[in-house]
Symmetry: none
Subunit: 251 residues, 2 copies
DNA sequence: GCGTATCGTGCAGTTGCGTGCAATGTCAAT
DNA sequence: ATTGACATTGCACGCAACTGCACGATACGC
């Protein structure tokens, strides 16, 4: 295994589990802890993670704690979320992805709205508890802690039973060439499965996601029917997407 | 668990409950009180909290709101929940029911515990977010808002794939003749399905549930292996159950 | 005022960390 | 084929961090 590959794996572990332990990694790779520590130090120097005694934690804003991430830039996220929530008409069936942005969408749905929401995120389900007229379908599976969504074979199977009007998809990268991408393979597969079951796929892309790419590809950019971006996003950033026939909605 | 993470968790506990108690934290983390006090001292030195005798309070004057304070004193429920949480051994697979009592059980599970928790309650899933070594399996289905649990055919099907060591069941009635019962038919069916997939069924019965009966029957009282009751429950109230060979555990 | 719980400090054992150095492997130029 | 520059890795050593225990001091409840 090449050193570069090893570092990639360390980063993906960090993203998946929200933490890595030096000793555990050394056993997993069959290398000395010295080598692992060297890797961690270098990754920390590049700003990819935060070094702590015993291992490492994710770098700055996206701290392992989902609750803390939720508190980041609530204004930005909720403007996109509010715009997305407006798209839902009474009686429709919509799929709500996991992630902090989609929790905001749930929060922005009118209390009087009568609709059906399908989600694989317990956080979204809890958020919808107080919406009396929204029927919630919870998709089960193995819970991926970092993003608080269920993933895996059971999740994919359950998704096959659904047919929805909208799928509100959260991503970490939208790029005309690289397509829609996210930081975890299992999550990418679930998103792909959801996209196949919805008439319209709406991608929620806050500023830093546009023209970015993450390790795992969900599908081509044209998988998205619409991309919701913030009002002040420059047209130059969205022209490539619009040229593919993807609708661009500004908040 | 890394030291840095532990401090993060302490701060989030502080934010959630409006207070932390050194002794409780030491038990939760499985560490000596010395270590916890050291953490608290360091966090206080960094200005993240205010040290007081017995524990710590938030640094900012903004104490937790009413809802959060209300959650502090569920002394009744948490005594039963704590006793139940003690029964879980590392490596086991346990099913956690919905309901407020089972959310308390999730909260009382040690942070260091490595186990698998199966639940059909998004609230329980969210509560377990901060337990780094607990694998959560979420059972999906149609969400029954009143109890915040998934129910229905999809739920029953998903349960069939599970085999667990324990099932911690919440009920609204335990009666030697009338059996175990609850207030909703769909919920009763789900509880019955869970009970069939666990080696031991542990019923959590706060005082008012004992010798009570609700409209929908889950099964005979002997479906329960053990019933956990509060310490001061009179023997006269549990004799009928004990006569059926059901274990009675007092907190 | 007194008993108990909690606190702070010093100490020791364990674990993790960083640096320097040597061994090995790779690659390119000679 | 040989040589030298370079990267990668493991090992040894000293140092720092973490943790638990013991002891005396302090605060709290009755």
């Amino acid at each position: 295994m090449l050193t570069t590959q090893r570092k990639q794996v360390i980063l993906s572990r960090l993203h998946r589990d929200g933490q890595v332990v030096a000793k555990a990694l050394s056993e997993e790779f069959g290398l000395s802890e010295d080598t692992i520590r060297r890797d961690l130090r270098e990754l920390a120097a590049e700003g990819h993670l935060q070094r702590v005694h015993g291992g490492a934690l994710p770098a700055s804003p996206a701290t392992g704690d989902f609750v803390q991430r939720q508190a980041i830039n609530p204004a930005d996220k909720s403007s996109i979320a509010r715009r997305a929530a407006w798209m839902v008409q009474p009686g429709q069936v919509v799929i709500l992805d996991g992630g902090t942005t989609c929790v905001c969408v749930a929060r922005e749905l009118p209390l009087s709205l009568a609709a059906t929401v399908v989600t694989h995120s317990p956080s979204v389900a809890v958020e919808l508890m107080n919406h009396p007229h929204i029927e919630v379908i919870l998709i089960g599976g193995r819970l991926f802690k970092h993003s608080m969504v269920s993933v895996g074979a059971a999740t994919i199977q359950a998704i096959a039973d659904i047919r929805a009007d909208f799928y509100f998809m959260g991503v970490t990268g939208v790029h005309a060439d690289a397509g829609l991408s996210t930081g975890d393979l299992e999550e990418a597969l679930v998103k792909r499965a959801f996209a196949a079951r919805a008439a319209e796929v709406v991608v929620l892309a806050s500023r830093e996601k546009i023209n970015a790419a993450s390790p795992f590809v969900i599908g081509p950019a044209t998988m998205a029917t619409t991309v919701v971006v913030e009002r002040d996003t420059p047209a130059s950033a969205t022209n490539d997407l619009a040229a593919l026939g993807i609708g661009i909605v500004r908040t």
